[in-house]
C-alpha cells in the first residue's frame, strides 16, 4: 500500500469535468511533481486531495479514503496545503497567519513555530508585519510555513515558483529538499517550471487537460523524444 494513492480520480465543477480517471501513487518520504500547462488540472488535483472539489474515484492516505471528507478533517489527518496564490490572511501579521495554521495541531505550536522560523528566519524578523505588504517570495514562505503549522505528513505545494525570481526559486527548492531529507516529509508539488520539477522530484507525472499523459523518473522523461519536443522545444 502506497502512502498516497490516487485511484481513478475524476473531478467536477458543476457539470464540467476537470480531471479524468487520474491514477498514481506517492511513496512515503518521496518528492513527486505533477507538471502541466495552464488549465491542465493541477490546482484541481490539489484541491481534490484537500477535499474542496467534487470527486469520484479514491484518494487514499495510508489506506484511508479522503474523498467525501471535509477539509478540516483531511488537515487533521495530516495533509498540509500551500495553494496557488497563497490565500493568506492579508490584514493579519505574519505571526498570526502562522498561528491560524496551528488551529488543529495546537499542542505542536511551539515546536512548529520554531521550526518555521528556523527554515525562514525572515518570518521571525518580520513577525508583526501584515502579509498584505509582503513580496511574492515572502508570501510563499508564509504559505508553506502556515501549511507546516498543521503538522503535516504530506505537504502539497501548488506551483511554488510561480512569479518568483530564479534566486527565490532556488531558496524554495532548497527548503523543500531540506524538509524532505531532514524531516522525512512526503511532498507533492505541481509545476509549469519543468526544470524546477525535474531537479526536485523523484517521480514526475504529466497532466494534460485533465488526463495523466505520462509518468516516470526525471531521467526517463528526459529521454522521451516526444515529450521533449512538447515541453522543452528541443
Amino acid at each position: 500500500m502506497a502512502f498516497l494513492e490516487i485511484d481513478n480520480l475524476s473531478a467536477f465543477y458543476g457539470r464540467a469535468q476537470s480531471l479524468h480517471d487520474v491514477s498514481f501513487d506517492v511513496a512515503q518520504g518521496e518528492i513527486v511533481a505533477v507538471i502541466g500547462t495552464n488549465g491542465a488540472g493541477k490546482s484541481t488535483l490539489m484541491d481534490s486531495i484537500i477535499g474542496m472539489v467534487k470527486n469520484t474515484g479514491a484518494i487514499r492516505l495510508e489506506g484511508a479514503d479522503l474523498v467525501g471528507r471535509g477539509s478540516a478533517e483531511i488537515v487533521r489527518m495530516g495533509v498540509g496545503y500551500a495553494p496557488e496564490r497563497a490565500h493568506l490572511f492579508p490584514f493579519m501579521a505574519i505571526e498570526d497567519n502562522l498561528l491560524v495554521g496551528g488551529y488543529t495541531a495546537r499542542d505542536d505550536i511551539g515546536r512548529n513555530l520554531a521550526h518555521v522560523h528556523e527554515l525562514f528566519p525572515v518570518l521571525k524578523e518580520r513577525a508583526t508585519q501584515e502579509t498584505s505588504t509582503l513580496s511574492g517570495g515572502e508570501r510563499q514562505m508564509v504559505s508553506v510555513g502556515r501549511a507546516l503549522m498543521t503538522s503535516p505528513r504530506l505537504l502539497l505545494v501548488d506551483e511554488p515558483t510561480i512569479g518568483l525570481s530564479p534566486k527565490v526559486c532556488t531558496e524554495i527548492a532548497a527548503t523543500l529538499r531540506r524538509l524532505n531529507q531532514e524531516d522525512g516529509l512526503t511532498i507533492l508539488i505541481t509545476e509549469q517550471n519543468i526544470n524546477f520539477a525535474m531537479s526536485l522530484a523523484t517521480h514526475v507525472h504529466v497532466l494534460e487537460t485533465g488526463h495523466l499523459r505520462v509518468s516516470g523518473t526525471p531521467e526517463e522523461l528526459m529521454a522521451d523524444d516526444e515529450l521533449n519536443k512538447a515541453y522543452f522545444g528541443t
Binding site: M52, S71, A72, P83, F91, M92, V100, R146, A147
Partner: protein, 282 residues
C-alpha cells in the same frame, strides 16, 4: 462643555457595544443583518420578563438577554442566511421583513405600550462635577469591558483568530483546518449575544417597546457604513463620532437628534462609498 464630554463618552461606549455585533457579521459574512435590532429588542424583553415579571435576580435577566440573542442569531443564520447562500440583497430583504414580523410578535405577547425597566444599577454618581445615573455609567463601563474582552478574544484565541481568518479568506481558513460553517455559527451566536446584552443596557437607559429595534439598527448601519468593513478599532472610533454628534445636536437642537446619524449615512455613502476606514480587517 464637560457635560457634553461625559454624556458623549457614555453614549458612545454604549453605541460601540450596539454596533459591534452587527459589524462582526458584516465582516465575516459580508451581509447586513437587518434583523440585528431584533436581538436588542429580544434581549431587553427577556431581561424585563425574567427579572421584573418573574422576579429573578438581575444577573439571570442579563444572562437571559444574552441567551435569547444567541438563539435568535443562530436561527437567522440557519434559516435565512444559509439557505439564501449569503446573497446580500435577498438576505437584507428577508431580515428586514423578519424584523417587522418579530415586532408584531412582541406586540402580541407584551402589548403595545412601552415598559419601564428598573435601573440595573441604582443610584447617582457625580463624575467631574456632572451628575449621571449609576445605570448609565454601568452601561458604558460594561460596554467597554465587553469590547476589550472581544478584542482579546479575536486577537489571542484560536477561535477568535479563526473568525478573522474566515472573514479575510475562506479558502485559506479551510486549508488551515478550520470549518468555516462552524465558525459562522459561532460568529452568529456571538453577534446575537452581543446584541442581546446591548439591548438590555440600551433598554435600561431608554425605553422598552416593540419598535425599539429601529434606532440601534440605524446606529449599527451607520457605524459599518462610515467605518467601512468592521474592525473593532474602526467601530469604536465611528461610535464616538456618532455618539458625540448626537449629544451635541441634542443639546443645541433636540428636535433633530436622531436625524443627523441618518444624514451622516447618506452623506458618507454618496461621497465615500467604501467608508472612512474601508478594509477587510477585524
Amino acid at each position: 462643555m464637560i457635560q457634553i464630554l461625559i454624556q458623549g463618552l457614555l453614549l458612545s461606549g454604549l453605541y460601540a457595544l450596539i454596533a459591534i455585533g452587527f459589524t462582526l457579521i458584516f465582516s465575516v459574512g459580508r451581509v447586513l443583518n437587518l434583523a440585528y435590532g431584533v436581538n436588542l429588542m429580544l434581549g431587553g424583553y427577556a431581561y424585563f420578563w425574567v427579572s421584573q415579571t418573574l422576579g429573578m435576580p438581575k444577573l439571570v435577566g442579563v444572562a437571559a438577554g444574552a441567551g435569547i440573542g444567541i438563539l435568535f442569531g443562530i436561527a437567522i443564520h440557519r434559516l435565512i442566511v444559509k439557505p439564501l447562500k449569503s446573497d446580500p440583497v435577498p438576505v437584507e430583504i428577508a431580515t428586514l421583513i423578519l424584523a417587522v414580523v418579530m415586532q408584531a410578535g412582541v406586540v402580541l405577547i407584551f402589548g403595545d405600550a412601552s415598559k419601564i425597566l428598573l435601573p440595573i444599577v441604582e443610584g447617582n454618581w457625580r463624575v467631574a462635577g456632572v451628575s449621571v445615573t449609576a445605570n448609565r455609567l454601568a452601561a458604558a463601563l460594561i460596554s467597554w469591558v465587553i469590547l476589550i474582552g472581544l478584542y482579546f478574544f479575536i486577537r489571542k484565541t484560536h477561535v477568535g483568530r479563526a473568525i478573522s481568518a474566515v472573514s479575510m479568506d475562506v479558502k485559506g481558513a479551510a486549508l488551515s483546518g478550520i470549518n468555516p460553517d462552524r465558525i459562522n455559527t459561532i460568529t452568529w451566536g456571538l453577534s446575537g449575544a452581543l446584541g442581546g446584552l446591548a439591548g438590555v443596557f440600551f433598554a435600561s437607559v431608554t425605553q422598552l417597546y416593540a419598535g425599539m429595534w429601529v434606532a440601534p439598527l440605524i446606529i449599527a448601519v451607520a457605524v459599518v457604513i462610515v467605518g467601512g468593513i468592521g474592525s473593532i478599532w474602526g467601530t469604536l472610533i465611528v461610535a464616538h463620532i456618532i455618539g458625540f454628534m448626537e449629544v451635541i445636536t441634542a443639546s443645541f437642537m433636540p428636535e433633530i437628534r436622531g436625524v443627523v446619524t441618518m444624514l451622516l449615512i447618506i452623506g458618507v455613502l454618496v461621497m465615500m462609498p467604501k467608508g472612512l476606514f474601508g478594509r477587510g480587517e477585524l
